[in-house]
Symmetry: C2
Subunit: 430 residues, 2 copies
C-alpha cells in the first residue's frame, strides 16, 4: 500500500473553472454519504485513499473528521457552561452587498449558499444575532477549523510572550535545539509567528515534488509502509526544512511555521497544544463541547490545521479575542497579548507574498489583518473557514464551510464584502 499524503491536501488540486455541484445539489445528507448499515459501496468514504476529502464528499467529512482518524480532545470544563445570549435579527438575511468584481448586488442569505456554508454565527456585542446550520453540521457537532488552527496557536504564542515565558527576539533553536540544522535555527520566534521566515517549502499541490507532500506524509497517522524513508511525525519533519533566502523580509504563508509554534508551546509549557488550549481557553469560557485535534503517528496534534470545534464555541473564542482576553469581567488571557494580535503586521512584508487578492492586508501572530477602516482581523482556513472580528462594529462572525475549492480566493469575493456589510449594518444599529 503506498503511503497516501495527508487528507486536507487533495481538494487543493481542484481547478476554479470546474463546474461544481451547487451547495443545494451537494447537500451531504441528501447525497447519503456514510448512511445505511453498512453504507452501500458507492456511499462509503475512505481516509486512506483520501477520497473522503474530495468534493462533494468533503461536505460530509468536515463535520465527521474524528470518524476517520485518531484525535486528541481539547477538554472543556465538564461542569461549566456559559450560555450565549440570543438577540436574533431577522433583517440580516436581507443585508445586501456588492461581490468583488461584480455589478450585481447579493443578499447575505444568498451568500451563505454561494459559499457552501455549513454553519454561520454572528455575535454583536456578545449576543447571537444570527445562527444557521447547513449540510452535515448540527449544533452538537464539531467542524474542521482547518488553518484557523494556526490563529489559535498564534494566540497562545502571543500569550506566552506577554507573560514573559517566550522571548520573541530569541531564535527558535534557543528553545528547540533539535532544529539547529534546519531553516528555523536562526529564525526568531517573532518571524515564525509572523511567517516571515525564508523557507524552501513549496505548498504547490500540483508539483509532486513539493515539500508539502513530504510534510503531509510525515504527519499521516496511518502506519508507514516498509519502504518509507521520510520523517515520522510533524516534529521530525521540521528538522528537515531548509532555508531559502533571508528571514524577516517577506511574508510567506507556510504551514510549517505553525508547527514550530506548536512545538515552542509544547516545549515551554510541557503541554501539547491540545492540552494547553484546553487549560488556557477551553476550560475557561464555558464551552459547550470539547474541541479536538487530529494527531500524527506519535500523538502530536497538527498545530497548523488539525483543530475541530463547535460553531458556538468558535464564536466564544472569537468573542474572547474581541474583548481583549476578557470573559464576563474576568481577564482570561493577558490584554497585552491580544493587543499585540490586534495591531497587525507589516504591510510591506505582506505585499511581497503574492496575495494580490488581499490588497493592503497584513499577517501577525498567525492572524490575517484586513487593515480596513474597522481594523477587522480574521482567522482563515481552506474551504471557507473564518473567524472575522470587527472591533469597531463589536461584531464576531464565525463561518464553517465546505467550498469545493480549497483556497479562500475562490470564496472571498462573496465573503469579505458580506462580512463588511453585516458589520456596517450592526454598527448602524448602535
Amino acid at each position: 500500500m503506498p503511503l497516501r499524503p495527508f487528507y486536507f491536501r487533495y481538494s487543493h488540486m481542484a481547478q476554479p473553472e470546474e463546474r461544481f455541484l451547487s451547495a443545494q445539489e451537494s447537500d451531504p445528507i441528501k447525497m447519503g454519504w456514510m448512511q445505511g448499515f453498512p453504507p452501500p459501496e458507492d456511499k462509503r468514504l475512505d481516509f486512506a485513499d483520501g477520497s473522503f476529502f474530495k468534493f462533494p464528499q468533503l461536505r460530509w467529512s468536515v463535520a465527521h473528521m474524528r470518524e476517520f482518524m485518531p484525535t486528541i480532545s481539547v477538554s472543556r470544563d465538564p461542569t461549566g457552561f456559559d450560555p450565549l445570549p440570543y438577540r436574533l435579527d431577522d433583517d440580516i438575511d436581507a443585508v445586501s452587498f456588492r461581490p468583488r468584481n461584480s455589478d450585481q448586488s447579493m443578499t447575505w442569505e444568498a451568500s451563505l449558499w454561494k459559499n457552501y456554508t455549513d454553519g454561520i454565527l454572528v455575535l454583536h456585542r456578545g449576543a447571537i444575532v444570527y445562527e444557521r446550520y447547513f449540510g452535515a453540521l448540527t449544533p452538537n457537532q464539531q467542524h474542521a477549523a482547518m488553518s484557523m488552527t494556526k490563529s489559535l496557536n498564534g494566540t497562545l504564542g502571543a500569550v506566552l510572550i506577554a507573560e514573559g515565558q517566550l522571548d520573541e527576539t530569541k531564535f527558535v533553536a534557543d528553545y528547540i535545539p533539535e532544529l539547529n540544522d534546519s531553516a528555523f535555527a536562526d529564525a526568531t520566534v517573532r518571524q515564525v509567528l509572523n511567517m516571515t521566515t525564508a523557507l524552501q517549502f513549496s505548498e504547490d499541490y500540483a508539483d509532486p515534488n513539493a515539500e508539502i507532500w513530504q510534510f503531509s506524509a510525515a504527519g499521516n497517522p496511518l502506519p508507514k509502509s516498509k519502504n518509507y524513508t521520510g520523517a515520522i511525525g510533524y516534529f521530525a519533519y521540521l528538522k528537515t526544512v531548509k532555508k531559502q533566502g533571508n528571514h524577516g523580509e517577506a511574508f510567506g504563508y507556510k504551514t510549517v511555521n505553525a508547527e514550530v509554534v506548536g512545538w515552542l508551546i509544547a516545549r515551554i509549557t510541557g503541554r501539547s497544544v491540545a492540552q494547553y488550549l484546553s487549560e488556557r481557553v477551553w476550560q475557561k469560557i464555558g464551552m459547550e463541547q470539547d474541541g479536538y485535534y487530529s494527531v500524527d503517528e506519535l500523538g502530536t496534534p497538527f498545530a497548523g490545521g488539525g483543530f475541530n470545534a463547535g460553531l458556538r464555541d468558535m464564536a466564544r473564542f472569537g468573542e474572547l479575542i474581541r474583548n481583549q482576553g476578557q470573559w464576563k469581567g474576568n481577564q482570561i488571557l493577558p490584554r497585552r497579548a491580544i493587543e499585540d494580535i490586534e495591531k497587525g503586521g507589516s504591510k510591506t512584508a505582506f505585499s511581497k507574498s503574492g496575495h494580490p487578492e488581499l490588497p493592503g492586508w497584513s499577517y501577525r501572530n498567525l492572524w490575517w489583518h484586513t487593515e480596513n477602516a474597522h481594523r477587522a482581523f480574521t482567522a482563515r482556513g481552506v474551504h471557507g473557514q473564518t473567524i472575522y472580528i470587527d472591533p469597531k462594529a463589536e461584531t464576531v462572525i464565525v463561518r464553517f464551510a465546505s467550498h469545493p475549492i480549497a483556497t479562500n480566493s475562490a470564496n472571498d469575493p462573496y465573503s469579505l464584502p458580506a462580512y463588511e456589510a453585516v458589520a456596517e449594518y450592526l454598527l448602524s444599529l448602535s
Copy 2:
C-alpha cells in the same frame, strides 16, 4: 505490513501466574508513556502493532483510546448539565471484606490498588458518596468501557422490545436478511440478547485459528493489506458466523451477539448505536462529557466493546437503570424495559457456560446477574470495568480499571466481595 488483529485482544494472552508490576509500580504517568515532545522512542505506544494495549502500556491507553483510532461521538446535550449531588463518606475506605479464597480481610481502599483501579465512584440514593481517580484518568477524560458496551446496547435492545419496535420472538434474519446464511438466521432476538445462541466462534486467544482473530481483523479500522481476503467491517463478518449446536440451550459469552444487537438497533431505528445512545440516553440525563465509540473501516461502531465515557457519566447511566429508567422524575426509558433487565436470565443456561467462578449467576439483555440476595446485576468489561447495581442497597458502583489480566476472573475475588461489603455498609446507614 501484516494485518494486525484488533486492539483489545492482546492482553488476553497474559498468563495469571505472571508477576506483574503493581498498580503503584505501573502508574502510567510515572512511567511516562507518550510524554515529551516528541515522546522518546521507548515511551511511544503504537496502535498498529498492538503494543499500546499490552500491560503496563494499556494503563495509559485506556484513558486515551481516541488518540489511537477513529471514533464516533455519543453526543451529550451541549446546553444541559445535571450535577450529581455529593455526600462523601470517608468511612468507606475502611470497609473491609474477605476476598474469595482468602483467610485475610482486606479494606476497600486496599482493593482499589489491588484491582488496578483507574476511577471509582459510588452512588448511594443518587448522591456521590465516594469518588477517586488513579493512573491516567481524570474527571474530564473518558475511559474504555470495554464489554460494558454490550450492556448499554442490551438496554437499548430491551427498550425497543418494550416499545414494540422489536419482537423478541422473531428471528434475527427477519430484520436483517443479510444474515440469512449465517448462524443468526434462525436465532431469535431474545436468544441473541441473552447470548444463548449456538455459534462456531471461539474467543480462545491462545488459538491462532480462533474466530475471534478474524472478527478482530474485520473490525480493525486500519486499511487492509492487499492480500487480505476476510470480511471488511463488523457487519460483513457477522454473515460468516456458522452455527454449532442448538440455539437457546446454553449461555455462551460471544461478542458477536452484541454486534448483532447493534445491527438490529441500527436497522430498526435508522441510527447507529452511537447516535441512538445519544438520542435516548446521553442527551437526556445531563451528561458532562460526550461518550465515544471506536469504529471499523466503514464507520460502524464496535457494539460489543468500543464504548468510552467519563466516570461520572457512567454513574449517571447506572443510576438511570437503578431508577428503572427514571431521571429526576421523568421516565426517560420505559420501565418495562428495565424490569426486563432486572429479572435476570436462566441460571440453568448460565451454568452450562463454563463460568464456575460465578456460581448461580445468570445473563440477560447483555447484563450479568449475580442473583444474590440484593438482586445485584452488573455490566462487565475486561481488565476490571464494572457497573454494579444493587437495587436493595440503592447503590451504584462504577469502576474503570486497567488490570494486567483481561479476564475478570483475575480481579473478581477482590472486587465482588468488596462491592457487596460497601453495599451492605450503605444499606446499614438507612
